[in-house]
């Protein structure tokens, strides 16, 4: 599972990112570079800015300093318009954010039709393809409220995949799920990784990180404290803060309240 990224193409570049909420400095000059096919897990204590970091990438948060760049792999150009960036970057949220008044299938088709301007039939086929991939195709005509949490999150993943993104952001995708359905979502994400999707994942699931990540990044106090491949990160971390964090985290996930 630790195959090296197969190319040198950089998809996401974050340079000296500064972000504050009022007086509180959340990100203090963060630098990050993500290559095609890389799987990066971002972890850290609550309030460390890890969610803020990935939300700055697709413009859900504004920032005061530094730059965020997303490259269009087909043309090699840097995308500057937010609408273009959001087309290439998919996101999965902790609270799923499925549209409750639409069926699962309609959820997956909406953006394809309105943003990528696909024909309805093409959109439907692609939606069913990805719903099959995440193994909830039989729920296609149900409304999100009729699904379990795990099924909803998988539907949300399928919805993001329908837009053919070049990179997927995950913001604590399993943190709001009951323990018994966490694994089905993690398995789906592992499947995505196997298919070569570039992934940035904020999570507490250390088992997943060990299995899938090319790099694990530890953020604390607004900056990247440590950045290393999983073996090095988990078994011989350089910084005390990382050691302290890891000792509080169980094998399978949720850290004790920081």
């Amino acid at each position: 599972m630790h195959a090296e990224a197969t190319s040198n193409e950089t998809i996401v570049t974050v340079k000296e990112l500064q972000k504050s909420y009022g007086d509180h400095r959340v990100l203090n000059g963060v630098n990050l570079s993500v290559k095609r096919g890389e799987r990066i897990v971002i972890c850290g204590p609550s309030g460390s800015g890890k969610s803020t970091l990935i939300r700055c990438i697709n413009g859900l948060e504004t920032f005061e300093g530094g730059t965020v760049g997303v490259t269009d792999l087909k043309t090699g150009t840097q995308l500057t318009k937010l609408s273009d960036i959001r087309r290439e970057v998919g996101m999965v949220f902790q609270s799923f954010n499925l549209f409750p008044h639409l069926t699962v299938l309609q959820n997956c088709m909406l953006a394809q039709i309105k943003v990528r301007k696909e024909q309805k039939s093409v959109a439907r086929d692609r939606a069913m393809h990805f719903l099959q991939k995440v193994r909830i195709s039989e729920q296609a005509n149900k409304h999100p409220g009729q699904l379990s949490g795990g099924q909803q999150q998988r539907a949300a993943i399928a919805r993001a995949l329908c837009m053919n993104p070049s990179v997927m952001l995950f913001d604590e995708p399993t943190s709001a799920l009951d323990p018994e359905v966490v694994q089905e979502v993690l398995d789906t994400m592992v499947g995505l990784a196997k298919d070569g999707m570039t992934m940035l994942c904020v999570t507490h699931e250390m088992g997943f990180a060990q299995k899938v990540a090319d790099r694990v990044i530890f953020i604390d106090g607004g900056g990247i404290v440590e950045e290393a491949p999983p073996t090095e990160f988990f078994y011989s971390p350089k910084h005390d803060r990382v050691r302290a964090f890891l000792s509080r985290v169980h094998d399978h996930g949720q850290p004790v309240a920081a």
């Binding site: 697709n58 413009g59 859900l60 609408s83 959001r86 087309r87 970057v89 998919g90 996101m91 949220f93 609270s95 799923f96 954010n97 499925l98 549209f99 409750p100 008044h101 909406l110 953006a111 309105k114 943003v115 409304h143 999100p144 409220g145 379990s148 949490g149 909803q152 949300a156 919805r159 993001a160 837009m163 943190s175 709001a176 799920l177 009951d178």
Partner: protein
Amino acid sequence: MHFDFQAIGRALPFLMDGLAFTFELTAVACIGGLILGTGMAIIRQLQVPVASRLVSVYVTLMRCIPLILVLFWFFFLVPLILGYLSATGRPIPLGPKTTAFVTFTMFEAAYYAEIVRSGFKAIHKGQYEGAKALGLSTTTMYASVIIPQVLSATAPIIVTQTIILFQDTALVYVLSLNDFLGIAARIAQRDGKLVEFYTFVAIVYFILCSVGSELAERLRRKAPTTVRRVKSFRVLGLPLP
């Protein structure tokens, strides 16, 4: 005491004409007001410069002045204003029917605007984020994701407001228009059968408004909650939302 309820039967065609007018006024004010009100709520939600300030003032004005005053003001003052603005300088009369339809629409729009605006606030922030993350334009986000949910969630309150509107239409009495109550009152006074006609009117209003209230209650029970499965609810033993 002898009550001649047969008189109602004889007057029924006229009463039905009046009821038709009442329905017509309610329908126009409801639909027009909803469209206008939703537009105003969107302007405030998007914080459009200048326009949202104007909308804010307009809504406050309409909600703080009694409808009956707005009716009078519109009927007497607007022709004068139009006359002043136009070339002739003479007052342009609007007529009671136009006044009624325009005034009620504009008045209700202010109330619907506040209802829809509170609906926006009730939509989970994640819905906006999910839509943005997918790359949906602001227009598509509002049209396909937010507004349908807002209208669905606020449907019970909108129906209640419409019931109030339905009852308020009786105020066109001051413009000498022939709505249901107006016609019944006129016939009752002409024939000296006040008890019979007013009782009948009260019963009809009661039945119609009860049906409306029941509809509002059914909508309230059916309203979809924004979907969130939050683990802590189950852990804490609380009922799921």
